[in-house]
Protein backbone atom coordinates (compact mmCIF):
# COMPACT_ATOMS: atom_id res chain seq x y z
CA UNK A 1 0.00 0.00 0.00
CA UNK A 2 1.42 3.37 -1.01
CA UNK A 3 1.97 5.84 1.80
CA UNK A 4 1.37 9.56 1.99
CA UNK A 5 3.34 11.35 -0.71
CA UNK A 6 4.68 14.89 -0.41
CA UNK A 7 6.63 17.13 -2.71
CA UNK A 8 8.98 18.79 -2.86
CA UNK A 9 11.11 17.26 -0.12
CA UNK A 10 13.20 20.39 0.27
CA UNK A 11 12.68 24.02 -0.64
CA UNK A 12 14.82 27.10 -0.09
CA UNK A 13 13.33 30.52 -0.76
CA UNK A 14 13.95 34.10 0.21
CA UNK A 15 11.62 35.97 2.51
CA UNK A 16 8.60 37.56 0.84
CA UNK A 17 8.61 34.90 -1.86
CA UNK A 18 5.77 32.42 -2.34
CA UNK A 19 5.92 28.65 -2.00
CA UNK A 20 3.52 25.74 -2.40
CA UNK A 21 3.59 22.21 -1.06
CA UNK A 22 1.69 19.23 -2.40
CA UNK A 23 0.30 16.18 -0.60
CA UNK A 24 -1.28 13.00 -1.91
CA UNK A 25 -2.90 11.01 0.93
CA UNK A 26 -3.40 7.29 1.18
CA UNK A 27 -6.16 6.15 -1.14
CA UNK A 28 -9.52 6.12 0.57
CA UNK A 29 -8.51 8.33 3.49
CA UNK A 30 -11.15 10.98 3.96
CA UNK A 31 -9.27 13.09 6.48
CA UNK A 32 -6.14 15.05 5.63
CA UNK A 33 -3.98 17.15 7.96
CA UNK A 34 -1.20 19.66 7.51
CA UNK A 35 1.22 20.12 10.41
CA UNK A 36 4.09 22.56 10.89
CA UNK A 37 7.11 21.26 12.79
CA UNK A 38 9.69 23.86 13.82
CA UNK A 39 13.13 22.49 14.63
CA UNK A 40 13.24 21.09 18.14
CA UNK A 41 9.47 21.13 18.62
CA UNK A 42 6.58 18.76 18.13
CA UNK A 43 4.29 19.12 15.10
CA UNK A 44 1.54 21.74 15.30
CA UNK A 45 -1.70 21.25 13.39
CA UNK A 46 -2.34 23.95 10.79
CA UNK A 47 -5.46 22.67 9.05
CA UNK A 48 -7.63 19.57 8.91
CA UNK A 49 -9.83 18.56 5.97
CA UNK A 50 -12.67 16.05 5.91
CA UNK A 51 -13.05 15.16 2.23
CA UNK A 52 -12.83 18.63 0.62
CA UNK A 53 -14.26 20.58 3.56
CA UNK A 54 -12.28 22.32 6.30
CA UNK A 55 -12.82 20.87 9.80
CA UNK A 56 -10.33 22.99 11.73
CA UNK A 57 -8.08 25.82 10.59
CA UNK A 58 -7.91 27.73 13.86
CA UNK A 59 -4.09 27.65 13.96
CA UNK A 60 -3.55 28.55 10.30
CA UNK A 61 -2.08 32.07 9.86
CA UNK A 62 -4.67 33.02 7.30
CA UNK A 63 -3.01 36.30 6.34
CA UNK A 64 -0.24 34.36 4.60
CA UNK A 65 -1.16 30.66 4.58
CA UNK A 66 -3.82 29.03 2.48
CA UNK A 67 -4.73 25.42 1.78
CA UNK A 68 -7.14 23.60 -0.44
CA UNK A 69 -8.18 20.06 -1.11
CA UNK A 70 -9.92 19.93 -4.42
CA UNK A 71 -12.04 16.84 -5.14
CA UNK A 72 -11.29 15.52 -1.67
CA UNK A 73 -8.01 13.87 -2.61
CA UNK A 74 -4.76 15.83 -3.14
CA UNK A 75 -4.06 18.96 -1.17
CA UNK A 76 -1.82 21.99 -1.53
CA UNK A 77 -0.55 24.31 1.17
CA UNK A 78 0.66 27.76 0.12
CA UNK A 79 2.60 30.46 1.90
CA UNK A 80 2.52 33.96 0.45
CA UNK A 81 4.60 35.89 1.37
CA UNK A 82 7.01 33.75 3.40
CA UNK A 83 8.68 35.00 6.57
CA UNK A 84 11.86 33.81 8.24
CA UNK A 85 9.84 32.18 11.03
CA UNK A 86 8.10 29.94 8.48
CA UNK A 87 11.26 27.85 8.23
CA UNK A 88 10.09 24.41 9.34
CA UNK A 89 9.14 20.94 8.16
CA UNK A 90 5.61 20.77 6.79
CA UNK A 91 4.06 17.38 7.38
CA UNK A 92 0.99 16.00 5.70
CA UNK A 93 -0.98 13.17 7.30
CA UNK A 94 -4.12 11.26 6.43
CA UNK A 95 -6.53 8.96 8.22
CA UNK A 96 -9.84 7.27 7.74
CA UNK A 97 -12.86 9.21 9.01
CA UNK A 98 -13.88 8.96 12.65
CA UNK A 99 -12.17 9.32 15.99
CA UNK A 100 -9.15 7.55 17.42
CA UNK A 101 -7.90 6.63 13.99
CA UNK A 102 -4.19 6.33 13.34
CA UNK A 103 -2.76 9.16 11.30
CA UNK A 104 -0.28 8.16 8.61
CA UNK A 105 2.40 10.76 7.95
CA UNK A 106 4.28 11.66 4.81
CA UNK A 107 8.06 12.35 4.80
CA UNK A 108 7.53 16.10 5.04
CA UNK A 109 8.79 19.13 3.13
CA UNK A 110 11.68 20.98 4.72
CA UNK A 111 11.34 24.72 4.05
CA UNK A 112 14.18 27.14 4.61
CA UNK A 113 13.40 30.85 4.33
CA UNK A 114 16.47 33.07 3.93
Amino acid sequence: EAGVAQSPRYKIIEKRQSVAFWCNPISGHATLYWYQQILGQGPKLLIQFQNNGVVDDSQLPKDRFSAERLKGVDSTLKIQPAKLEDSAVYLCASSTAGVYNEQFFGPGTRLTVL
Partner: protein
Protein backbone atom coordinates in the same frame (compact mmCIF):
# COMPACT_ATOMS: atom_id res chain seq x y z
CA UNK B 1 -6.22 24.01 25.12
CA UNK B 2 -4.44 20.78 25.94
CA UNK B 3 -0.70 20.80 26.52
CA UNK B 4 1.65 17.85 26.59
CA UNK B 5 5.00 17.93 28.32
CA UNK B 6 7.60 15.27 27.59
CA UNK B 7 10.57 14.35 29.71
CA UNK B 8 13.40 14.10 29.33
CA UNK B 9 13.93 16.35 26.33
CA UNK B 10 16.94 14.31 25.30
CA UNK B 11 18.51 11.05 26.37
CA UNK B 12 21.76 9.26 25.61
CA UNK B 13 21.96 5.62 26.68
CA UNK B 14 24.39 2.80 26.18
CA UNK B 15 23.21 -0.01 23.95
CA UNK B 16 21.48 -2.69 25.99
CA UNK B 17 20.21 -0.34 28.68
CA UNK B 18 16.56 0.22 29.51
CA UNK B 19 14.98 3.67 29.37
CA UNK B 20 11.69 5.43 30.03
CA UNK B 21 10.14 8.50 28.42
CA UNK B 22 7.25 10.32 30.08
CA UNK B 23 4.38 12.35 28.67
CA UNK B 24 2.23 14.44 31.01
CA UNK B 25 -1.01 16.14 29.98
CA UNK B 26 -2.68 19.23 31.38
CA UNK B 27 -6.06 17.59 30.79
CA UNK B 28 -7.57 14.11 30.78
CA UNK B 29 -6.34 12.02 27.88
CA UNK B 30 -8.98 10.32 25.75
CA UNK B 31 -6.60 8.99 23.15
CA UNK B 32 -2.82 9.02 23.55
CA UNK B 33 -0.55 8.20 20.63
CA UNK B 34 3.15 7.46 20.54
CA UNK B 35 5.07 8.15 17.34
CA UNK B 36 8.72 7.82 16.41
CA UNK B 37 10.46 10.19 14.01
CA UNK B 38 13.85 9.80 12.40
CA UNK B 39 15.69 12.88 11.18
CA UNK B 40 14.38 14.02 7.83
CA UNK B 41 11.49 11.60 7.86
CA UNK B 42 7.85 11.54 8.79
CA UNK B 43 6.30 10.09 11.92
CA UNK B 44 5.92 6.36 12.39
CA UNK B 45 2.99 5.19 14.51
CA UNK B 46 3.97 3.06 17.51
CA UNK B 47 0.95 2.64 19.77
CA UNK B 48 -2.31 4.17 20.85
CA UNK B 49 -3.78 4.03 24.37
CA UNK B 50 -7.29 4.93 25.44
CA UNK B 51 -8.23 3.32 28.72
CA UNK B 52 -6.92 4.17 32.17
CA UNK B 53 -4.35 1.58 33.21
CA UNK B 54 -3.95 0.31 29.66
CA UNK B 55 -0.62 -1.15 28.62
CA UNK B 56 0.53 -2.17 25.15
CA UNK B 57 3.74 -3.72 23.93
CA UNK B 58 5.40 -4.10 20.57
CA UNK B 59 8.72 -5.87 20.36
CA UNK B 60 10.83 -4.20 23.04
CA UNK B 61 8.68 -1.11 23.49
CA UNK B 62 5.94 -0.88 26.13
CA UNK B 63 3.57 2.05 26.58
CA UNK B 64 1.30 2.64 29.55
CA UNK B 65 -1.48 5.10 30.37
CA UNK B 66 -2.01 5.80 34.05
CA UNK B 67 -5.32 5.23 35.81
CA UNK B 68 -6.09 8.94 35.95
CA UNK B 69 -5.41 9.22 32.21
CA UNK B 70 -3.11 12.22 32.53
CA UNK B 71 0.26 10.60 32.13
CA UNK B 72 1.78 8.06 29.78
CA UNK B 73 5.16 6.39 29.73
CA UNK B 74 7.11 4.67 26.99
CA UNK B 75 9.62 2.07 28.10
CA UNK B 76 12.30 0.53 25.90
CA UNK B 77 13.97 -2.65 27.08
CA UNK B 78 17.51 -3.51 26.03
CA UNK B 79 17.91 -0.50 23.73
CA UNK B 80 19.50 -0.88 20.31
CA UNK B 81 20.91 1.71 17.87
CA UNK B 82 17.77 1.20 15.77
CA UNK B 83 15.75 2.73 18.61
CA UNK B 84 17.45 6.09 18.12
CA UNK B 85 15.22 8.93 17.00
CA UNK B 86 12.67 11.39 18.31
CA UNK B 87 9.75 10.01 20.29
CA UNK B 88 6.58 12.09 20.25
CA UNK B 89 3.41 11.70 22.25
CA UNK B 90 0.20 13.08 20.81
CA UNK B 91 -3.20 13.60 22.41
CA UNK B 92 -6.47 13.20 20.59
CA UNK B 93 -8.55 16.34 20.59
CA UNK B 94 -11.76 17.38 18.92
CA UNK B 95 -12.25 15.94 15.46
CA UNK B 96 -9.28 13.58 15.72
CA UNK B 97 -6.75 16.42 15.57
CA UNK B 98 -3.55 15.67 17.47
CA UNK B 99 -1.71 17.92 19.89
CA UNK B 100 1.92 16.84 20.24
CA UNK B 101 4.47 17.13 22.99
CA UNK B 102 7.88 18.65 22.30
CA UNK B 103 9.51 15.28 21.70
CA UNK B 104 12.30 13.28 23.34
CA UNK B 105 15.51 12.85 21.38
CA UNK B 106 17.05 9.44 22.00
CA UNK B 107 20.60 8.47 21.12
CA UNK B 108 21.83 4.93 21.67
CA UNK B 109 25.58 4.50 21.88
CA UNK B 110 26.92 1.21 20.50
Amino acid sequence: SQELEQSPQSLIVQEGKNLTINCTSSKTLYGLYWYKQKYGEGLIFLMMLQKGGEEKSHEKITAKLDEKKQQSSLHITASQPSHAGIYLCGADGAGNMLTFGGGTRLMVKP
